[in-house]
Symmetry: D2
Subunit: 174 residues, 4 copies
């Protein structure tokens, strides 16, 4: 099987605070260190920090852009998919991810959380206790609706997030 | 100007309780009575009740379907757009609506609320006090993020919802 | 059954010659006169002339736009769906049409012909003998591939086009 | 710059003849040998042979699928993007490719050629003389419309195709 396991990182295109910057970088770094491919919306902010971390760990990054040209991608994207779909592309970020890790985020991130939930993807969200605000803090530990038995995983550190992600991917392999 | 003003109705494809059924029908009825076109996702539940109400008032209904064929539409849809985009079509429901009215709803509705907010559409949501649950009750009176100065309008009756909608559309005309 | 039968008109956003302008208007006029809804890409040129004809005959017009706002629509569109998908929306024009009528056209129209063929829609194209150039003249009377038993209908007048369209829609009703 | 240059391979999901199979494999092999990433629709036939060739040369393959799950991908795809868009995804295959190489093909491939032309991508097509049929043979050496000054490149061998592709990518780098 040559197919790579892909972890999606969702969050805002601007950085809210230093803790968000640090966590985004670490999550990206650990995704790559564990041989997962990082997929994201390819823009600035949380996405860029995560991509930077992934490349520092020798990883591979995939950007699913709103625009129809590749220039919009942050400099740390290897594989750039310019969808030309505008924000509608948020649905494709969720679909492409085997697991989603949510770091902060505004309305765009919220749409990705909603799609991730509809598409039955495991979702991991940084809680308020991690120093992260935005929608990840609001949904951490919660359910989006009653369609699923599980909840959104609530985490405080990048290590915790990756450990949960690894459990899911091992289950799938066995 | 031959372009019609379009009001989007978003909510779940199943009905949560009798109050939700009643409100969905009334909202659809009043949309049509006030010469607006009703646009929705075209499926069952809240969407179907709203379409039924709109046709009873002599109105016109537009369905933006996930499927690639027209059979999925509820029987009260006049203009059927089968997008073939799956849930990704939720973004197009928000884009097509000049104003959004949210009645209950699960994760799909939440994605439409998030897109409506991103696309700068006025959003009107039925509050808990109206007897409605789901995401409309959760977001009524709130902001999705700090990008906009306004909040989601919180309403308790179909009349209230339509009165707010009419204010927006008059502003635009003047 | 409240669902309207919808005929798609595809062609370029600029007018090639006076004959193209005349035919586009007549096709739109006859679509409406026969109680079909006209659906198109909503832009200028062939689309605008067809919409103008449809409104002159008291009809209803639906625009499926590339842009994410409604301003791009030509002035003769009643129901405007701003998809925000760019040219990717061409696929949705084909999906929404029960039958496609092709008048001239460049690469965009060619993509709509290809999608119409994939989606198994009857396609009617104006031939070179009608005074029309572009892709409709190239594909009139031809097959796009061997997946379908039928061919693209070749027509010389708007009346011919509508008569073929009516045959298909009657078959469906019976 | 960490961004990879991506070459799209477009063609049918079934193989027309042995020559088509051979050329698809060779094109994929040479794309990878020259350090380009191969992007395609991810399905069987021409796409699968090209992916197989690319992996044999140690390359990286990207699949942009119509379906909303990853199972539809052929076994030689590394990065799988399940768009859930149906055939509408053809537009994204064209957008993601810096250059397109067309090998045979039916209506789906024709839509990708049309989009590639709209998106101003260099297009290389295998001619009838190469032993290839379908739309690549029909458009090789031709223009889709008069919007562009160039034509679709007509080639007879995989080496020729890659040499043209390399010229474009060098131009861009300088």
């Amino acid at each position: 099987m040559y197919r790579k396991q892909m972890i999606g990182v969702i969050g805002d295109s601007s950085i809210d605070n230093d803790q968000e910057r640090k966590i985004a970088y670490e999550v990206g770094y650990l995704i790559a260190k564990n041989n997962f491919v990082l997929v994201c919306g390819g823009r600035a902010g949380v996405m860029e920090e995560a991509c930077r971390g992934a490349l520092d760990a020798g990883g591979l990054t995939v950007a699913i852009l709103p625009s129809s040209t590749k220039e919009e991608a942050n400099p740390y994207c290897n594989i750039v998919i310019p969808t030309g779909l505008g924000w509608t592309r948020n649905s494709l970020v969720a679909l492409s991810s085997d697991i989603l890790i949510c770091i902060g985020g505004k309305s765009g991130t919220l749409s990705e959380i909603a799609f991730g939930w509809m598409y039955n993807k495991p979702i991991i969200a940084f809680s308020k206790e991690s120093g992260i605000n935005g929608w990840s803090a609001k949904v951490a530990g919660k359910k989006i609706d009653d369609r699923r038995n599980d909840s959104i995983y609530s985490v405080k550190t990048a290590e915790e997030a990756i450990n949960i992600a690894k459990k899911f991917i091992n289950q799938k392999t066995i």
